[in-house]
């Protein structure tokens, strides 16, 4: 009890120094938490992927489409319980920076494959019956203030012209990790318009999404799909939805790696600050520690004091930092809008923050504690700090 009291008293002796150190820790732990959350957001698409969905794309690259007649041929494969398709539209809403993903989908089958998109049945019906209608996610709706019945104009970059859509439904995510920043509309609308404008570009879809009953057969069914279309004009590449999403992440892997490295750099910066604080504290109190030694307290007691003080300060900083991470992340997520569809602080991030702070506390105390344990009573009493 006295031991803890002594530690607490020690931390409060230099209020300004302790205060500054804690402030530094708060900033560092907060920054660390936010950076980890940004990395998590990068992987959100892959995390939200279902193991019973496969994605088939053109083997040359995603830019190349697949013919619509592949749909029925894939459906016949045993183990396939559902199939739908999606085509990337790539439209611009007013300005280039207002980015959100838009897909032309089959309104009947697509949402059956994605039960995590929750749509009120009445709105769903309204969407299905309006060929120029669209379904948008909750996050997209709040970012731009879209309501059911609004008209959204998009300037096509892949499909020329200005397209306008009426919001018929807004979907919510079944889980926190569901991407609700997307925009879906009728593939028929796209296809019929292309029939008038550019006949060669009709009856193509971007990717097929395949529902399978048994996730263990994913590899086998993927191979089977690709085998059917080998040596055709549009060869396919089928992979699990997770692998498909991770493919996107790996293309920007360098950025993810950079953010990860930087998130550790901030911990090293604060480690330097914390170690400095502890070194100064121990140096100033060396004669005190010598007195304690002369009174018969062993080196274990003294090192305990130093480690205790260091960890007390770093954990205090960590707790405030973690408490601030949540509101700041929330604010950041609102600012970024649809750029980060899913942005939430995970429990793992909190554990990482606590672990980082504890490590900083321990490492910062190592050198001073070793020195104090080693110093002889005479030498310590003589020192003037």
């Amino acid at each position: 009890m006295h031991f803890l009291k002594l530690i607490l008293r020690n931390t409060l002796r230099h209020k300004l120094r302790t205060g500054l150190t804690v402030l530094g820790l708060v900033v560092a732990i907060l920054a660390f938490g936010l950076l980890r959350t940004v990395v998590d957001a990068w992987y959100a698409g892959a995390e939200g992927a279902s193991s019973t969905r496969l994605v088939t794309r053109n083997s040359i690259s995603l830019v190349f489409p697949l013919p619509i007649n592949y749909q029925e041929r894939i459906r016949r494969i045993s183990g396939v319980t559902g199939i739908s398709h999606a085509s990337w539209f790539g439209g611009v809403y007013v300005m280039e920076k207002n980015f959100f993903p838009q897909f032309a989908v089959d309104p009947k089958t697509y949402f059956e494959l994605y039960p995590e998109y929750l749509i009120p049945p009445g709105d769903m019906k309204a969407f299905r019956t309006d060929r120029k209608g669209c379904v948008i996610g909750r996050k997209l709706a709040t970012t731009y203030g879209f309501k059911v019945g609004d008209t959204i104009p998009l300037r096509g970059t892949i499909y020329p012209g200005t397209w306008s859509f009426t919001v018929r439904a807004i979907y919510d995510g079944a889980e926190a990790g569901t991407d609700t920043s997307q925009f879906f509309f009728h593939w028929d609308y796209l296809n019929e318009t292309m029939k008038k404008a550019a006949t060669r570009r009709t009856d193509w879809v971007g990717v097929y999404v395949i529902q399978i009953a048994d996730p263990d057969r994913a590899a086998e069914i993927s191979t089977e799909v690709d085998a059917i279309f080998r040596n055709s004009l549009a060869e396919t590449l089928t992979e699990t939805e997770k692998a498909f999403q991770l493919g996107f992440v790996s293309m920007t892997e360098a950025i993810v790696v950079a953010i990860r490295i930087v998130s550790f750099v901030v911990i090293f910066i604060i480690l330097a600050v914390m170690a400095n604080t502890m070194a100064m504290t121990a140096r100033e109190r060396i004669s005190e520690y010598a007195t304690l030694k002369a009174l018969g307290f062993g080196p274990r007691f003294l090192t305990g004091l130093i480690y205790g003080e260091s960890i007390a300060i770093s954990l205090a900083g960590a707790l405030i930092g973690i408490a601030l991470t949540f509101p700041v992340a929330d604010r950041f997520s609102k600012q970024m809008g649809t750029l980060f569809p899913v942005f939430g602080v995970s429990l793992d991030t909190v554990y990482m923050q606590i672990a980082a702070a504890t490590a900083v506390g321990l490492v910062a105390a190592t050198l001073p504690a070793a020195r104090v344990a080693r110093v002889s009573i005479v030498e310590g009493l003589r020192s003037i700090g």
Binding site: R17, R155, T157, G247, M251, V265, V273, N276, M280
Partner: protein, 388 residues
């Protein structure tokens, strides 16, 4: 008379651990700051130098990138025969009708796939880009299934080295050469014969047309004529502007993320400097009193402590820059969101970045040292001398 610099230097040397830790913290912040600037500069340099101001890129209106663009044969022919287009040595127009396709290729070693841009170029394609040289092997023969790969593509992708083959569009393509484009965007591309590639990918139309102008000053006139021609649905851009726009999204992302991080991190380092300087003032209260009693003025004391803090900043700045300069050895490759293809670029250090980073380090030192120095200068002589 001011307090000699050696006094300040000795103070820093007296507590080595503290000095090293404080300067080390700042060095890390400077390292992050400089690295981000270097990355942005590298990206900018790569893409800006890809385009030349005398060349014009013609794409379909509002396509934004060459990959999304389509220019059909009829329109390409009209564009190519505009009077502003320069003539080459052989009396033909200096224009290249090109097709751009993205293919997904596995990387050497990891087998992870990424998008690579394949450019089908016309006869004049290489002449229009003076920065491109064949570094190894030879140029592809027109009308054959031969291709040449950019230097960074040849290094990083399976099957893209000289003598190797790639399979796409139902054909085998032999890599016969490696081009060195002087670290521009073309290093991340594969080139082949435009007609062969169009057939392989079953494309009826070109993606873009590249023109060389007789005189860059003619560009506004050409642009106005092409964009108002009712037969055409194209957009004309100077090649340098076109490539600068391609990098905007990624460059902005790097810049904003980097600046926000540097500022947040610098708070940590400034606090470190502040703690050190406050301790430095507290330990030397008697000394300050003595100096004042000897006749040094308040502003002498202020500047002595500020100089000490600036020295800490400078030490951090130099260390950080030395660390950052090693980053020049690295090449980073990531997907450019706008063109959806992979782009390799390196960290580039220049005088401006050195200047900015060092300035940033000094600002951190100043910010950390100002309050403690002010405190020291305000001490009353009697109180200071009395302090134990």
């Amino acid at each position: 008379m001011s307090i000699p610099l050696s006094y300040t230097l000795r103070n820093l040397a007296a507590r080595k651990l503290t000095t090293v830790l404080t300067a080390g913290g700042m060095a890390l912040v400077v390292f992050v700051f400089a690295t981000v600037l270097m990355l942005e500069e590298g990206l900018r340099k790569t893409l800006v130098e890809t385009g030349s101001p005398d060349n014009v890129v013609i794409t379909r209106r509002s396509a934004g990138t060459e990959v999304q663009s389509q220019v059909d044969r009829e329109q390409a022919a009209i564009v190519e025969n505009q009077p502003e287009v320069a003539y080459g040595m052989t009396g033909t127009r200096l224009a290249s009708k090109e097709t751009i396709v993205l293919i997904s290729l596995p990387k050497r070693g990891s087998d992870k796939a990424s998008n690579v841009l394949i450019r089908g170029v016309g006869q004049k394609g290489i002449e229009l880009r003076p920065q491109v040289h064949i570094a190894e092997g030879r140029m592809f023969r027109p009308g054959s299934t031969e291709i040449i790969a950019g230097k960074s593509v040849a290094e990083r992708y399976t099957g893209a080295g000289v003598g190797e083959t790639l399979r796409f569009g139902q054909r085998e393509w032999t890599v016969v050469g490696v081009m060195d484009a002087g670290k521009t965007g073309f290093d991340s591309e594969i080139w082949g014969d435009v007609d062969q590639l169009m057939q392989a990918f079953r494309r009826p139309a070109y993606s873009s047309v590249i023109l060389k102008l007789n005189d860059p000053a003619m560009f506004p006139e050409l642009k106005a004529r092409l964009e108002n021609d009712p037969r055409l649905t194209v957009e004309a851009k100077q090649e340098s502007v076109f490539y600068a726009e391609q990098s905007q999204l990624l460059a902005n992302f790097i810049r904003y993320l980097g600046m926000i991080l540097s500022i947040i991190f610098s708070v940590g380092a400034i606090i470190g400097a502040m703690i050190t300087m406050y301790a430095s003032v507290a330990n030397r209260t008697t000394e300050i009193g003595t100096l004042r009693a000897l006749g040094f003025r308040r502003n002498n004391i202020l500047s002595a402590f500020l100089v000490e803090a600036l020295m800490l900043g400078a030490a951090g700045g130099i260390t950080g820059l030395i660390l950052a300069s090693f980053m020049q050895l690295l090449t980073i490759s990531t997907m450019n969101w706008q063109s959806f293809s992979e782009l390799a670029f390196s960290f580039t250090l220049n005088a401006e970045i050195i200047f900015k980073s060092f300035g940033f380090a000094l600002i951190m030192g100043f910010a950390g040292g100002f309050l403690p120095a002010a405190k020291a200068s305000r001490l009353a002589i009697v109180d200071a001398l009395r302090a134990a």
